[in-house]
């Protein structure tokens, strides 16, 4: 093989490598930039609970909140779970994404909260109940979105301190937010108000 032929051959190998690199980048980018899987709140509870039991044997779940936007029928890419240890009187939060604990932190404030009931409807059922009652109308009328979903016991239930509720907060630019309290045991809307 003469020198010119060798140079041509090398150039073509280099071009081939470049094309391979471009193809690979194109193939990989949809994976790295892919949408993370959204899930309902209960799906992340097992992982959070396993971590919490390492932190404190007596840890009980006291609060759940979406850490990323609520999408679709009541799912989020990330949910936050707050546990309370009666023995140590401390609270610790775990943020779950795709079945993994990606953040864990001690709550830097006193937060003595009662545990949520063992049986609570999932975030999808809660959103469906709220939408059916008032949420859908609010969204359509004011261009609103569901901003926050939280699960707690007693916080928003006047007269029923033992009741575990989902609280859904719909927001709309330029309009007061819509609060909807859904009984997390029976799946019924208990209260709504604007504020």
């Amino acid at each position: 093989m003469d020198v010119h032929a060798l140079k041509g051959w090398t150039a073509r190998v280099t071009r081939g490598c470049c094309m391979g690199a471009i193809l690979l980048v194109l193939a990989i980018s949809p994976v790295s930039a892919r949408d993370l899987a959204a899930f309902a709140a209960r799906s992340g509870l097992d992982v959070a609970h396993a971590a919490a039991k390492v932190w404190a044997e007596d840890a009980v779940l006291v609060y759940v909140e979406n850490d990323e936007s609520v999408v679709g029928s009541g799912r989020s890419v990330r949910w936050g779970y707050l546990f309370f240890s009666p023995a140590s009187q401390r609270s610790r939060a775990y943020s779950i994404r795709e079945g993994r604990v990606i953040e864990a932190e001690d709550l830097s404030m006193d937060f003595v909260a009662p545990p949520v009931s063992a049986h609570w409807i999932d975030s999808e059922s809660a959103l469906a109940a709220a939408d059916e009652k008032v949420g859908r109308e609010f969204r359509e009328k004011h261009g609103g979105v569901i901003g926050t979903m939280l699960l707690a016991r007693g916080v928003f239930s006047d007269g029923s301190p033992d009741q575990t509720n989902w609280v859904l907060i719909y927001t709309s630019p330029g309009n007061p937010s819509l609060f909807v309290v859904v009984d997390a045991t029976e799946g019924k809307v208990r209260r709504t108000w604007r504020g």
């Binding site: 081939g16 690199a21 003595v112 009662p114």
Partner: protein, 289 residues
Amino acid sequence: MPTSSLLRHVPAVLGMTVWCAVVLSAPAWGAEPVAPSGMPTEVRVERVRPKHEKYFTLRFLKANRDFIRARLDLLREEPGKSLADAAALDPRFLAYRELMQSALAGVDSVQASEDMRQRRELFASVTELGQLESQLDQLELLLAAQRTRLTALQADFTGHQRTELAVVARGLPADATMLSLTLTLEDGAPVIVTLTDAQRQSLREGGVLELFHGLIEPRDQVIALTLTGSRWPGGDSGFVSIAPARDRLTFLQLDFSRLQPEQGATSLRASTWLLETVAGLTDGAGAQP
């Protein structure tokens, strides 16, 4: 297309194929080191604590904490006088006692039957043989009750592997004397292990020393290591990233044998792996390489 023209494209296709094969066979970019069961994976000991992306969590709660705490305060009952402390009993322990009592209840019956049996010298009739059969039935019931109790104990204490970390050490540096090692888990208190002469001797002869064994949260985290010894009187620190798998026992092995006094903790060889199965524990066939 003439053959010569086709041949001109062969190098380009060849180059692209080789390049793709090399890249695709490499580990995924940015992937966490995964330790398959039983297979140790080398992990680096860093000089500087690796940065961890901070994710916000529970924003609404934090933004409205005064309001929510005020609402919770309304729910709280204040007792007029102090109450005696009493921890809740684990219902399993009550169950063990009941199981034991039911198992022992059969013992008296068996003993009485045994006395009666000793008073008779011969089994003279079919009726007596029937009684013996009845006694054997009672013994079987007793055994069944004990088996139930043991099964409950086994299920509660040996059946469930929780997320645990075991840190073990092996080897000793040739040019330095190791005095102690401090391990600090994220959000945890430091664990200081001071090496005794016997432990140093054991390590020198190829032994393995358990430095830490305990529960750990199943998440990516960084362990801080601080060595002290003749060459590092003030201590020398390094950081190891691990990703303990949920409900598995993760091993982290620190090999001191190639420790370079000048480089300190970062020259430690560290590797991690998972215990294969719970069965591996019971039959002594652990997964340590």
